[in-house]
């Protein structure tokens, strides 16, 4: 058992190193084989419980790994997405530069993700978790020549969050006296414990891509290779971030229902849902639009976990897995549109549905899932979260349902303008994508259907036991009121869309009325000035701070360069002025000195 855990880390790592040096022909086959092997090992661990421990550094830092039902499940999911992305890339990335680096980084990322998921020691977890930063930087940078500012942005944002997490871990060690995740048992009461919890949560939600740590994701959607988007921000990062968020708020710390921190977490979720989906609504690029939804959907998971109710937490886990499925699938459809039509600019796309029927069907299934339409998987996880959110407060429910409305509106706009309607300049003689790209899309779309149809089984058999004692959880009876409301909202979105398309004669403009609505317009105006980008605001603040600090530094140097030599010169100048060379003056000095000496001796 022990060697299997190590193998999950070392096999993809070794394969990644190999991919960096192997010739092109062997590389793809090797990468695919390594991803398949990883999937196979992960599958064999499913539902197992085992651990391995090696002493490492002392001070509570042991190289300890543990697999149990929850982590095994997430490792399996991560392996599945990694396999699909590698399969997809064998076709999609074919003509791109830096292929060796791409496969190398992807496989090493997979190894690090496995390491972070299996880690049973906070430092081991952080080692792999933060190690992903370097790969994140590398993967974005190989996108294109001008991609490096985005790569740096991603690195800096995640790096700052990881530093907070490091401080949080140090504090946890001090409070709990151990770094073993399965042994930590703290409450969130008290200033120190609360601080430790918040610092750890910052790390978790920044990895998951929630606001305010999101702003690199839309930029990366434009700059990074598309497979990367399906791989990290859409699926593996989410799995990792939400997995850890559940570990901290459910296992390591006992987050209390209705406590301040719980409400704060739910508020972060609610804000993320609403703000990100509003920005998504006005995007005119396929990939950018999807990337804002990748941010917005994280809000549902965080809100669900923040409720501290079993239904909410299980809903959050289910949403995590659902989201990873449809969002990586949606990015894959974006990739096939980009590859086949040559652009993802919605102004130039149109009528692709008849040219790329399989892609279109997959897109439709997954768009319905993300909008929360029954009987697809997104519906079930969102219902659970609605249920829990309503119990905590109406405002949270309203934020969630408003998110659903706008999600549906924006996907209607996206699907209509890209796949239906008249063909535009960018979509002439487009053909369906090759099989290696279709298979991953079909698999993810099928998974959306399966997870939806089998939701009761998945929830009760697989996900509920993750919560430990609450494992006897059963799916609550369907709340008919909520379901009806959901359907009403979806229908409203559809009717709105149809009316607007008739009014504007352009699917792309179908959401513009929301954009121009009185209050909302002001919010957008702020967002467009980049006030909404915490990165830019943070850099501006750092600019001011460093200016002040550098000024202080120059002033200190002034003391050594100007003040001290100046004083020295002035002092010596006085002394030398006294030595004027006149005998008379010297005699006076000598007399005065003698008199002083005599007086001193006579005293």
């Amino acid at each position: 058992m022990m060697h299997k855990l190590l193998l999950l880390i070392f096999l993809p790592f070794g394969a990644g190193l190999l991919a960096l040096v192997l010739p092109r022909r062997l590389r793809e086959g090797m990468a695919l084989a390594a991803a398949a092997a990883d999937l196979f090992i992960a599958a064999s661990l499913f539902g197992k419980d085992s651990a391995c421990l090696m002493p490492w550094l002392g001070f509570g830092i042991d190289f300890s790994l543990r697999v149990y039902n929850f982590s095994a499940f997430v490792v399996f999911a991560a392996a599945g997405f990694a396999f699909l992305v590698v399969l997809y890339s064998t076709s999609f990335m074919r003509a791109k530069p830096c292929l060796g680096q791409f496969y190398g980084y992807v496989l090493i990322s997979l190894s690090f993700v496995n390491g972070a998921l299996l880690a049973d020691n906070l430092i081991v977890l952080l080692f792999f978790w933060e190690g992903l930063l370097i790969l994140l930087f590398g993967l974005i940078r190989i996108g294109r020549k001008e991609a490096y500012p985005t790569a740096i942005k991603a690195f800096v944002i995640s790096g700052i969050a990881d530093l907070c997490m490091m401080a949080g871990i140090a504090l946890t060690w001090r409070l709990a006296g151990t770094l073993a995740i399965s042994k930590i048992n703290l409450s969130t009461d008290g200033a120190l414990a609360g601080t430790a919890f918040v610092l750890l949560v910052i790390g978790a939600i920044s990895k998951a891509g929630a606001m305010p740590f999101h702003s690199w994701i839309p930029d990366a959607a434009e700059d990074a290779p598309l497979s990367f988007m399906a791989f990290l921000p859409a699926s593996l990062d989410k799995l990792l971030g939400i997995y850890f968020l559940i570990r901290i708020s459910w296992d390591m710390f006992k987050l209390q229902e209705g406590s301040f921190l719980s409400i704060a977490l739910m508020s972060v979720g609610a804000l993320t849902i609403v703000l990100a989906v509003m920005v998504a609504l006005v995007q005119k690029d396929y990939k950018r639009l999807l990337s804002y939804h990748a941010v917005s959907q994280t809000g549902y998971m965080i809100m669900g976990i923040g409720t501290c109710l079993p239904a909410g937490v299980i809903g959050g886990i289910f949403h995590m897995i659902n989201h990873a499925t449809y969002k990586s699938g949606l990015f894959l459809t974006a990739g096939s549109v980009e590859k086949q039509a040559g652009t993802t600019d919605l102004e130039k796309l149109g009528g692709l549905g008849s040219r790329m029927p399989v892609t279109f069907i997959c897109f439709t299934v997954m768009a319905l899932s993300i909008s929360g339409c029954p009987p697809f998987n997104g519906f079930f996880s969102k219902e659970l979260i609605y249920d829990a959110a309503l119990e905590r407060g109406l405002i949270f429910y309203l934020a969630a349902i408003m998110g659903s409305l706008l999600t549906a509106v924006s996907f209607l706009k996206l699907g209509h303008s890209a796949y239906l309607g008249a063909r535009r300049s960018g979509s002439a003689d487009t053909k369906e994508a090759p099989a290696a790209m279709l298979v991953p899309m079909i698999v993810t779309a099928a998974a959306c259907v399966m997870l939806g149809l089998g939701s009761r089984f998945v929830l009760e058999r697989w996900l509920a036991p993750f919560l430990g004692e609450a494992g006897a959880w059963h799916m609550p009876a369907a709340n008919i009121m909520l379901i009806i409301l959901t359907i009403v909202v979806l229908l409203a979105a559809l009717i709105h869309h149809l009316l607007r398309v008739r009014a504007t004669q352009d699917a792309l403009k179908s959401a513009d009325d929301i954009y121009h609505a009185p209050f909302i317009r002001a919010v957008y105006a702020l967002a467009e000035k980049k006030y909404a980008d915490p990165y830019e605001a943070g850099l501006a603040a750092m600019g001011l701070l460093t200016r002040a600090l550098a000024w202080l530094d120059r002033k200190i140097d002034w003391v050594y360069n100007v003040a001290i030599p100046g004083m020295n010169n002035a002092f010596c100048g006085r002394l030398s002025a006294v030595h004027s060379g006149y005998y008379a003056v010297y005699i006076v000095w000598a007399l005065a000195g003698s008199i002083a000496a005599v007086l001193f001796l006579l005293k």
Binding site: F127, V156, A550, Y560
Partner: protein, 481 residues
């Protein structure tokens, strides 16, 4: 041969070789270079050979009795051996790098002689068991660094060298006064004797303040730090040796030696050190973010990182002290790598102004990668070694200092990421502005790649230095009690 004699070899091989080198240089330049390398290598090998001994808990000593408390005592405990291994090892690679870098300069005899003399006096300082000799070697390092900073003999360079000398020597004179007061209070210059004598009583604040002035001036801590960025005009291997890896660690070492092992600081002074270092970490990081000269950026970064080492030592908790020791190693490796990369850039692109550089990754990929990995280590990103050191220092600070101090250092760590990335992207990414530049010579590139690889290995195989650091910290704190 006894262990006491290996101490003599470690200290005096470089010092004697430093006298021979200029003469030898008249005969054969190549032979001189190899002898310089050999002298440093001997120090390293003998220091490393003491490791098994001190980690068994034994001491190696060599003493010549002298009147007036001036006993010449060399004493190797685990702290001294750890420090000696780190500094001599880094020096070996830097001397190797010099072979190519310095080959176009005049006065090479002087260069090698002073570099080797510097290392010898550094070894002497590290192993000194007597404050008088500690001071003696301390001043020799000051003189050698003065000569090496002003190596090119230009007016401006000579002024900067004078500034460095004046600032560190005035600090050292204050420290000497502190030593004398310590002698009056404890009745001895011998550190072991002082420890015994002052076990129960505390020493006066003035003594502590005077000694700290010396320590902070040598380790370039605010407000005695501004000589360090100015000294960046020296040749790259010199800056790497003096200002990154070895010289600035002298103050840190003296702090550990005097204020942890010998006479533990009392609370007000401890708080003072923590606050001062917090400000130092922040101000120098801010200055690094504003600076446009590549070597000055790295020099400011050194000031900032030194403060992290002080944080680890000053909080006086085992994990923090072990973290600080690990920090000395990891920071030495990474920062030496950064300075040597800057040297390659300066050597080949003929400028170190980052606003005029750009896109160099296309022409010097290995240097760029080495720079990036060393920068990752300084930022504390795993899997590089700096990560563990940074975590352990933070963990120690959480226990041994206040939350506010930790927050200030956290902000300093965030700024570290920002200024290093700013430097990296300005120099290596974007449009290639100076097209004539090319990759450095094989030996130079090998050296920077080696530092990057060692930083990486230091993270993945952290348990080896980690065990040493943990043991040393344990020993240091047990003596302190």
């Amino acid at each position: 041969m006894s262990n006491g004699h290996s101490l003599l070899i470690i200290v005096f091989t470089p010092i004697i070789c430093a006298c021979i080198l200029p003469v030898l240089g008249k005969v054969s330049a190549a032979f001189r270079n190899y002898l310089a390398l050999a002298a440093v290598l001997v120090s390293f090998v003998y220091s490393a050979s003491l490791l098994p001994l001190v980690y068994k808990g034994e001491l190696a000593t060599f003493t010549v009795a002298m009147p007036l408390g001036f006993d010449f005592t060399l004493r190797a405990d685990s702290l001294a051996v750890f420090m000696a291994c780190v500094s001599s090892f880094i020096s070996v690679i830097i001397v190797l790098y010099s072979f190519d870098y310095i080959s176009h300069y005049r006065n090479q005899n002087e260069y090698y002689s002073f570099v080797v003399l510097f290392l010898g006096s550094m070894m002497g300082l590290v192993f000194s068991g007597n404050l008088v000799f500690l001071y003696l070697f301390w001043e020799i390092t000051a003189i050698t660094s003065w000569r090496l900073i002003g190596f090119s003999r230009e007016k401006e360079h000579a002024l900067r060298a004078d500034k460095a000398l004046l600032m560190t020597v005035s600090g050292a004179l204050l420290m000497l006064l502190g030593f004398i007061r310590l002698y009056l209070e404890a009745g001895s210059f011998d550190l072991a004797a002082i420890r015994l004598a002052l076990q129960s009583q505390s020493i006066s604040g003035l003594t502590v303040g005077l000694i700290l002035a010396g320590i902070f001036s040598k380790s370039a801590t605010l407000p005695l730090h501004t000589w360090l960025p100015d000294a960046g005009i020296a040749p790259a291997p010199v800056t790497a040796l003096l200002h990154a890896a070895v010289l600035v660690k002298i103050g840190v070492y003296a702090f550990a030696r005097i204020f942890i092992v010998t006479i533990p600081l009392d609370l007000p002074w401890k708080t003072f050190v923590l606050v001062l270092c917090g400000i130092s970490a922040l101000v120098s990081a801010g200055a690094a973010y504003r600076e446009t000269d590549l070597k000055r950026i790295i020099a400011y970064s050194t000031i900032s990182q030194i403060a992290f080492i002080f944080l680890g030592f000053a909080c006086g908790v085992q994990i923090g002290v072990a973290g600080a020791l690990l920090y000395i190693l990891m920071h030495g490796l990474a920062k030496a790598g950064l300075f040597l990369c800057a040297g390659i850039v300066e050597h080949n692109a003929k400028t170190k102004d980052i606003t005029r550089l750009g896109g160099l990754i296309n022409v010097m990929p290995v240097t760029a990668l080495a720079f990036l990995f060393c920068a990752f280590s300084v930022m504390g990103v795993p899997p590089l070694g700096g990560f563990f050191a940074k975590y352990m220092v933070f963990a120690g600070a959480m226990e041994g200092s206040s939350f506010w101090i930790v927050s200030v250092f956290l902000l300093g760590a965030i700024l570290t990421i920002l200024y290093l990335y700013r430097a990296f992207s300005a120099v290596f990414l974007g449009e290639l502005k100076i097209s004539a530049s090319r990759e450095g010579s094989p030996v130079m590139v090998f050296c920077v790649a080696l530092f990057a690889a060692l930083s990486l290995a230091g993270g993945i195989l952290v348990n080896y230095p980690g065990v040493l650091a943990r043991y040393t910290a344990q020993q240091m704190l047990s003596w302190a009690r």
